[in-house]
């Protein structure tokens, strides 16, 4: 990026779908020709160096799942780089899932099965049953590998303390007996949740962050999709974020999605350690072109982020990740232009999808991201043109 040319930074938010050859091989299921063709086709399309080696290995009776995980990371990384993103990761190809991966590397949790999130989307859920601690840093191997193969800058997504707490059953902190007919004592529930979330922050998340920083991590995104689950627990979310990152030398951001974002105010006024909020808005927006407020109902809340005193960057979600519909570049452009107008400072806007794209096929995810980057360039061009000829606007 040249110093005199406007460049809005683009990045992904987290997960990408896992390719069928990884899913089936990891589950011990036989691969079919179309799975191997998927690896060949995407290897060529993304120009993944040495992908022929992967294709060959997929023809063997029992390919090594860990090696396939690393191949999948290479593919996902190249997919994001090839789409033109400035900051990338590997779509969490080597993790089971954002909650399950963290809990599986922690002491104090026991699995309790699968629960539906929406439609045909599910998540595994565990119960906290004992003292929480980090069994082993659980993103180190992944980061080391990605540092060795990435061409673009890396941003590491890690599931946050509050989300881990609120997505778990509590069999330890809150009252377990005598609840039937007693009525809720909210103060007891809040005390229990605070203790639980802060234990996770101090004893699980923070040591994991320290390990990543020790490996040279420069930007860590703390994912908190559960942050607004309980509107009267936003202080606990903020306290747990602060306890996770306070005093650590790294750029920390957070990702929020599918919430009533008004709920976060004023709580996040105390979250000054967060330098960027990546937030999903497109899911709530229209598909009409236009930069006027009535065309952009999904983005009305962004002024609240603008007004935060510590002036964080807004990672502007412009892709609805729950739809196969490909946003035209012009729609992305208009969403960005609206945000730029509200913020008045391009340095405080990054461009992102609403959330991880793991529920979309690679074909759809790739096309969406390519349009996102195109739309970003259109917005930059429009802004530069406006600045060059202000009277023409």
């Amino acid at each position: 990026m040249s110093s005199d040319k406007l460049h809005l930074l683009t990045h992904e938010v987290g997960s990408l779908a896992k390719p069928p050859w990884l899913v089936k091989a990891s589950a011990g299921r036989p691969l079919e020709d179309e799975d191997i063709e998927h690896a060949r086709r995407w290897g060529e399309r993304l120009e993944v160096s040495g992908h022929e080696e992967l294709v060959e290995s997929l023809r063997t009776p029992a390919p090594d799942p860990e090696e396939l995980g690393r191949w999948s990371s290479r593919y996902a990384l190249r997919l994001l780089e090839s789409a033109g993103l400035d900051v990338v990761y590997d779509g969490e190809q080597q993790r089971t899932e954002m909650y399950a991966w963290a809990v599986a590397h922690a002491n104090g949790f026991e699995p309790r099965g699968t629960v539906r999130s929406f439609d045909n989307k599910y998540y595994s859920k565990s119960a906290v049953t004992g003292p929480i601690s980090l069994r082993e840093p659980y993103h180190n191997d992944e980061l080391r590998f990605l540092q060795s193969v990435a061409q673009a800058e890396l941003k590491i997504p890690i599931t946050g303390a509050y989300t881990l707490a609120v997505w778990s059953y509590d069999e330890r902190y809150g009252p377990q007996k005598g609840r039937l007919g007693a009525g809720v004592r909210r103060e007891d529930e809040l005390r229990a949740r605070r203790e639980f979330a802060l234990d996770i922050a101090r004893d699980l998340i923070r040591p994991n962050l320290e390990a990543l920083i020790g490996l040279g991590a420069g930007w860590i995104q703390i994912d908190e999709p559960g942050a607004s689950t309980e509107p009267d627990e936003l202080d606990i979310f903020v306290e747990s974020f602060n306890a996770s990152v306070e005093g650590l030398d790294c750029l920390f951001s957070t990702h929020l999605c599918f919430s009533d974002y008004e709920l976060f105010f004023p709580a996040i006024e105390r979250m000054s350690g967060c330098r960027q909020y990546a937030v999903g808005f497109a899911n709530y927006d229209t598909r009409e072109l236009g930069v006027a407020g009535d065309k952009r109902p999904g983005y009305q809340v962004i002024s609240r982020f603008r007004d935060l005193s510590y002036e964080p960057i807004l990672g502007l979600g412009v892709l609805d990740i729950h739809s196969d519909w490909i946003e035209p570049a012009e729609l992305v452009r208009d969403r960005i232009l609206y945000a730029l107008d509200v913020f008045g400072d391009p340095a405080r806007i990054h461009v992102t999808p609403d959330c991880g794209l793991r529920t979309r096929s690679w074909d759809v995810a790739y096309e969406k991201l390519v349009r996102m980057v195109e739309g970003t360039r259109l917005a930059e061009h429009e802004l530069e043109r406006a600045h060059a000829a202000p009277a023409a606007r």
Partner: protein
């Protein structure tokens, strides 16, 4: 004392995998249909083995409380995701694109006539899902009423109207007015999942329903007026907790509850069992039945 389990039931691991595979193009819709049918049969068997009085199909095909009706009605569609209460489960908000009218009622489930219950959104919850774009009375008259008529013709014994939002500030007067629009062809129960019902119990005593479902994990027994005139559908199983209830604790509670109701007590859970995994949900049904038998004998 009757016992039954309304609402959306948990999906088995096999069904979870089948639907995931469907979404990713790894299996055919027919294979998912077959697994749905296996899950349904197993759920019915679990309820029958437990001796539950009314059977439910667990709404295993329902994506959320509103979507099948929104898709079956003219003028309605479903799109943005909205969090369901304070859970990590979401529903799709109902978008209003015209005057609503149920095109064709949803078919009755394959369950023994006269022995099954259906769960539908309450009119007020449905209106809340439209974010106020439609009022509860319109939805009651144009969508819910024809659906209830169809279920009645299909042998339904009880309609459970799920109302998760009432206790968090929705207007109980509007709800009572909307309930008047519903046909009185079979008993209606108003179920208040995952809510402290204390603020609305007095008003609901006047509602045109035969039973009120109360979450007794969030509602104090002391909040229930003496001689309550509606049957109490007592939520004694916690559908959001992985802890398995002790039937003895439930029996002890029910013994305190019984003298407060002049219209009887039935036992159920405090919300949809989809908030725990299928093995846990199944075990909770067994505990519900285990809690009921000695109480019934004593009564």
């Amino acid at each position: 004392m009757r016992a039954f389990v309304p609402g959306i039931f948990a999906r088995s691991e096999a069904l979870v995998q089948a639907t995931r595979d469907l979404d990713r193009g790894r299996t055919a819709a027919e294979a998912v249909d077959e697994q749905l049918e296996r899950d349904r049969r197993e759920l019915v068997a679990v309820q029958e083995d437990a001796g539950l009085d009314l059977l439910s199909d667990g709404l295993l095909r329902w994506q959320d409380l509103f979507r099948p009706l929104a898709e079956a009605a003219e003028g309605l569609s479903a799109r943005p995701l909205v969090r369901f209460l304070d859970t990590n489960t979401f529903f799709r908000a109902v978008l209003v694109e015209g005057k609503p009218r149920l095109r064709r009622p949803l078919p009755a489930p394959e369950l023994p006539k006269g022995r099954w219950l259906a769960t539908l959104p309450s009119p007020l919850a449905f209106a809340r899902a439209t974010d106020g774009a439609l009022d509860a009375r319109t939805l009651a008259a144009e969508v819910l009423a024809p659906q209830i008529e169809a279920y009645a013709a299909g042998g339904c014994a009880l309609i459970v109207l799920s109302e998760p939002f009432l206790a968090s500030g929705e207007r109980s007067g509007d709800l009572v007015a909307a309930l008047e629009e519903l046909p009185k062809v079979l008993p209606l129960a108003l179920w208040l999942p995952f809510s402290d019902a204390s603020p609305v119990l007095e008003k609901l005593a006047e509602a045109p329903v035969s039973a009120v479902g109360i979450d007794f994990y969030l509602t104090s027994l002391d909040a229930l007026p003496q001689d309550y005139p509606k049957e109490i559908m007592a939520g004694v199983i916690d559908a959001r907790s992985s802890r398995i209830e002790d039937p003895a604790d439930i029996r002890e509670f029910v013994e305190q509850l019984l003298p407060r109701s002049s219209a009887g007590v039935s036992l159920t859970q405090n919300g949809d069992l989809q908030f725990v995994s299928e093995p846990i949900a199944r075990e909770k049904i067994a505990r519900l039945a285990g809690a009921r038998t000695p109480v019934q004998e004593a009564a």
